[in-house]
């Protein structure tokens, strides 16, 4: 019995030590950075717009999407995003092609991802941490999104231009940039040029739009 008790005490001591260690670890975490502030400001606007009763009405849906898109445009850098998805061949694109590619992409993102948030009802995001790139110029803000009763890890990669902007979003470990990149790389290897790639992105957005129009 005494042996058992002292064993319990031993375990308790071990547990206390563990607890102290975890506390120390969390105390070392940094205060929110400028990047996180910028992200938080944008996401807060998105969620408050979504919860705004005046947009609950079906008739105002288009306006709701427009407002959200404006916020997204101010923080999401479509050009940086597009450049990374294309990779090395981006520099073979003419400035005009680059511009058209980025806007076609923005259109696809609007038709798929932004369209998806309109039915969102959840508790928004919690900020769980951040990482810096080894060079120190980029930041990854790690969040948990409350989505359909589950918390989904969503990380935002950001860099500083005039303001902090997002250049990649990583959902459950899947980087959007890398995902598009493998697709484009294969397509560009198959002798497709910039213009046909732009056409494909445009066609895709159009297709999605008619599809969701049907199901609505």
């Amino acid at each position: 019995m005494i042996g058992f008790l002292s064993g319990i005490r031993g375990i308790a001591r071990a547990l206390v030590l563990c607890l102290v260690l975890t506390l120390c670890a969390s105390a070392a975490q940094a205060a929110p950075s400028a990047a996180q502030d910028a992200l938080k400001k944008s996401l807060d606007t998105v969620f408050s717009t979504l919860n705004d009763p005046q947009y609950k009405d079906e008739a105002n849906r288009e306006e709701l999407l427009n407002r959200i898109e404006t916020v997204v445009q101010s923080i999401f850098d479509y050009t940086e995003f597009s450049a990374r998805t294309v990779g090395r061949k981006w520099h073979k694109f003419t400035p005009d092609q680059q511009h058209r590619f980025a806007s076609a992409f923005a259109d696809l993102i609007r038709a798929t991802y932004i369209e998806r948030v309109k039915g969102y009802s959840g508790n928004g995001v919690t900020y769980v941490g951040e990482r810096r790139s080894t060079k120190g110029d980029k930041v990854e803000i790690q969040t948990l999104l409350d989505y359909q009763g589950k918390s989904v890890p969503v990380d935002y990669r950001m860099l500083q231009k005039d303001t902090w902007v997002i250049y990649d979003v990583i959902v459950e470990g899947v980087s959007l940039v890398k995902n598009y990149r493998t697709q484009f790389q294969e397509l560009l290897n198959d002798d497709e040029n910039a213009d046909s790639l732009i056409a494909r992105v445009k066609a895709r957005a159009e297709e999605v739009r008619t599809q969701s129009g049907k199901t609505d």
Partner: protein
């Protein structure tokens, strides 16, 4: 008895320390590959060592942006069976969208959501051995203990796992928060994923994860129901009950993709690699 318990306590302490050491595995490379042409015109903030020092001082983790997005660092996938894979990919696609989706719609229409949630919780709780054994085999004792606590609470207070009262209880110790399986365990032991393979009905997998799935089924209590076709039926029902979420996820990814086969393949590989690293 006394010696045994204090030995146990010491072992626990040592393992708890080892746990934090093992967690360092996920720290990325410190090497930055020079990438002159790829990102030349992208915004390159001047790289001062001040920033890096800041990151170190604040104890922040780092990621190697340039190596990750470098042209060479493409997440290459070994896909020698592409013909077979593409065939089953399109087979599964029409199975999910044209058969299972409408079937599930009918099923949701005739069953209350409480039942569907209960069934979902029940099967998830039943798979505790898979998560527990995999966590132990990876030396993730904190994860294993949190899984056990959840299992005990949900099995007792949750009426045999039908309810999930442990769901919103936050663990006091730091856990990775992702659910372990044997495929991830093999990955954590250093095994590569091998080739990419799409199974009929089951969907995307890799050689390593397929071996993991076989092992997982030995840890799944439902596998031990006899006769074998009842066991298969029960498993199938459990999967079908949760099908809607999987289908929605799949559809959304497919919608946003330019080349759906490549998009799904890459998403599978990326997410498995991320889960192994966790």
């Amino acid at each position: 008895m006394k010696r045994l318990t204090s030995l146990l306590a010491t072992a626990l302490l040592v393992l708890a320390m080892a746990c934090t050491a093992l967690a360092d595995r996920s720290v990325p490379l410190a090497y930055s590959s020079p990438e002159p042409q790829g990102t030349a015109t992208l915004a390159m903030a001047d790289t001062t060592s001040k920033d890096q020092l800041y990151a170190q001082r604040m104890g922040l983790d780092t990621f190697d942006d340039e190596a990750e997005y470098a042209n060479s660092a493409d997440s290459s996938v070994n896909d020698p069976l592409e013909g077979w894979n593409r065939f089953w990919f399109s087979f599964n696609d029409s199975l999910y969208i044209d058969v299972l989706k409408p079937l599930h719609k009918g099923y949701s229409a005739v069953t209350p959501w409480e039942l569907r949630a209960g069934v979902s919780n029940f099967f998830h709780n039943l798979l505790f051995p898979v998560r527990f054994v995999s966590a132990i085999l990876q030396g993730k004792l904190a994860d294993a203990s949190v899984e056990s606590a959840r299992f005990i609470v949900n099995t007792t207070a949750g009426f045999g796992g039908l309810m999930n009262p442990a769901e919103d209880k936050k663990p006091l110790i730091k856990v990775s928060g992702d659910e372990e399986d044997l495929g991830q365990t093999f990955g954590a032991w250093g095994m590569g994923e091998g080739l990419y393979i799409v199974w009929p009905l089951l969907g995307p997998s890799s050689l390593r994860d397929s071996a993991g799935m076989v092992g997982d089924s030995f840890l799944n209590p439902v596998s031990y129901i006899t006769p074998w076709h009842s066991s298969l039926g029960v498993k199938g029902y459990g999967e079908f009950n949760d099908m809607d979420q999987r289908i929605t996820q799949y559809e959304e990814l497919k919608k946003s993709a330019i080349e759906p086969y490549l998009a799904i393949r890459n998403a599978y590989i990326q997410s498995r690699r991320a889960r192994v690293a966790k």
